[in-house]
Assembly symmetry: C2
Homo-oligomer: 437 residues x 2
Amino acid sequence: MPFATIAELSKYDGQTLTLRGWLYNRRSSGKIQFLQVRDGSGIVQAVLVLKEVGEEMFRRVEAIPQESSITVTGSVRADARSPGGYELGASDVQLVAAAQPYPIALQAHGVGFLMEQRHLWLRSRKPHATLRVRAEVVRAVRDFLDGRGFVLVDAPILTPAACEGTTTLFGLDYFDEGKAFLSQSGQLYMEAGAMAFGKVYCFGPTFRAEKSKTRRHLTEFWMVEPEIAYGTLDDVMSLAEEFISFIVQRVLERRKEELKILERDTKPLEKIQPPFPKLSYDDAVKILNETRAAQNPPIPPFGGGDFGAPDETTLSLRHEKPVMVHRYPISVKAFYMKRDPAAPDKALCVDVLAPEGVGEIIGGGQREDDLALLEGRIAEHQLPKEAFEWYLDLRRYGSVPHAGFGLGIERTVAWICGTEHVRECIPFPRMMYRIYP
Amino acid sequence: MPFATIAELSKYDGQTLTLRGWLYNRRSSGKIQFLQVRDGSGIVQAVLVLKEVGEEMFRRVEAIPQESSITVTGSVRADARSPGGYELGASDVQLVAAAQPYPIALQAHGVGFLMEQRHLWLRSRKPHATLRVRAEVVRAVRDFLDGRGFVLVDAPILTPAACEGTTTLFGLDYFDEGKAFLSQSGQLYMEAGAMAFGKVYCFGPTFRAEKSKTRRHLTEFWMVEPEIAYGTLDDVMSLAEEFISFIVQRVLERRKEELKILERDTKPLEKIQPPFPKLSYDDAVKILNETRAAQNPPIPPFGGGDFGAPDETTLSLRHEKPVMVHRYPISVKAFYMKRDPAAPDKALCVDVLAPEGVGEIIGGGQREDDLALLEGRIAEHQLPKEAFEWYLDLRRYGSVPHAGFGLGIERTVAWICGTEHVRECIPFPRMMYRIYP
């Protein structure tokens, strides 16, 4: 008798087999038990009939607690009402290990409690579906970039210096070498990579020690960062819209079931195709100010600088597709951003704001490739020049225009799944007040 | 005129196009210059003939320093002597940015110096080839596991407790939550994942603060860790040999050019197919002791415990394929290892030693799935039980036999590439004395 997984039941129509899994839920009429059995690949209903299996087995199975590990032997039969299209006519159920009273009931709990039980909560339908979408997003990211000639060049996590200031860095002692910091971005390293490989990406965890408790923030999250030698702002804006569209369409194609479990309306996602709407920072400010003035009472006009979360929401809700805001003031952006030759107070940068109020999922742009200008920016930002000598070398030895961006994985998953909070979009979230389990 | 990459030159035979890249090297006869141009996707020879381009351009190009960024326009022509099969008859060369005198000459430098220049050294032929093999290994890992129904469940890097003792951990302050540690292994989290998804893996950077300066050690390295619910030691031993064979054959198939650049003899790699030789720990000790006794003067017999690097080398050099050493004494292994019911002083574990003296590339085995036995082991190892409550929950709620392993990526790349030191097998290595660039 073969062991099979629930995902592959359709291959065994009419045959008898054994599943190895867990008891997810049970309904009983007294004469028939409907067991919801999960094995990680899916959930199937196993039907146990008193008359067929006899009193002894029926009562024994009735006593098995939720989430106990069990094996179920039975015959596979098509059933149009079942989610996977099949159910199991059970002839034997064996207990592997009885569970203690399970802390997570199938009805609602508070998220705080569920996060404390994250190691178990992963078994429930919605977290399970969300993380399968996450795995698909990761796969899509790599398929897209590998398929277009980008070379994976993993950036280091332990770094000697900060990419964008030290206030939000996790620091630690590194042997006799002094302080090391957990990377906030692999970008600077990707610039070195692009000069060696042309088109590169890194994809790993990044860290921000932000004292922030919003629904958009994690202290540890995954980010993919492509970088292109000889690339311009326009190049990466095109790349970004193709990239995002590819990811969304891939999930729609391969994770239909999961999106259904998550009750995600997929119509807005079907529209995610290039081109995306583009908006200069100045035009975005105009829109925000019109929106503010139209309030009753009117809100004072936008003071300049970077957008806050409510501004991003205002902008993103105006469009069905992600909106690309480009050319922010150079004064609010990082030292490595290249100035727009046509407007020297602006940076050749772009943020991509996801629709439905999710906020920024991409930040990127063209990098300063002139040695003297970059040295000036490092001085202006009062950064320690010696830490950036290697980075300046990239301008000393064959500098070229180059550009790239970073896409935050968990925010992208939150958008695609329609999940309110990014903490549900990573297996074991890390936040200001959460480092367990 | 289209821009093209060197990798795709064969598509443009006979056509005129422009390449964007860097000047890797140059030979000149006074009347002809042979420019080695690289663009990250490959290296091509561009031939510049004085008579064809004229005195002015010829002299200008002659003055361009090594590693300057240049664009080269010319016609693509087949040339059997060229590595890629094509060369470029150059009609125009434009300087993008002149390089300062380049610190890396094409002849030999010491590795210490080169590592200090790692951001530039990536451009040289051998590091470039090694890291392309690394990217292929990563791709192969994901293709293998994704293709067999494993779900990616990324493990957290910031963890509240140690997996295998705290002496080799990097610690840091985590807001008001006390100390956090950088993960040494995602395994415990993968056990939770396996109970939810059946078959899972994590694949990310892991950290060991080892004061070790051997050629096999990095403080930051990438590891892939599959874990299987209802899996046994035998299951993961089979999986490991299929997995390693798949990776090696994939690299042989897709990275021929790179292995040639690395002067790797590929014959030993062609033999890497299941089954692999298997050896119990006790038999391995017998072999080591016979080897020791045969020395002149004889070396005292093996004292028990874990093998050291020289022992691993002795064992691995006896075989053409990786050798799988199983069932080590439980006393030398981590607290979560399951005892062998047939020999309670042994653990159901396996180490895979790569051939050619590279040492351990896989460690894994079956996990203790009995709550009381696991609690006993945690007490024996004097670990703080409260930190492992969530891990113990996996035995309280539907415990099942389960097993998995971890494969170290950089050691695997070192073996496949025939590279002596793992530090050359990661883009930006981190070692006890190295955190720059």
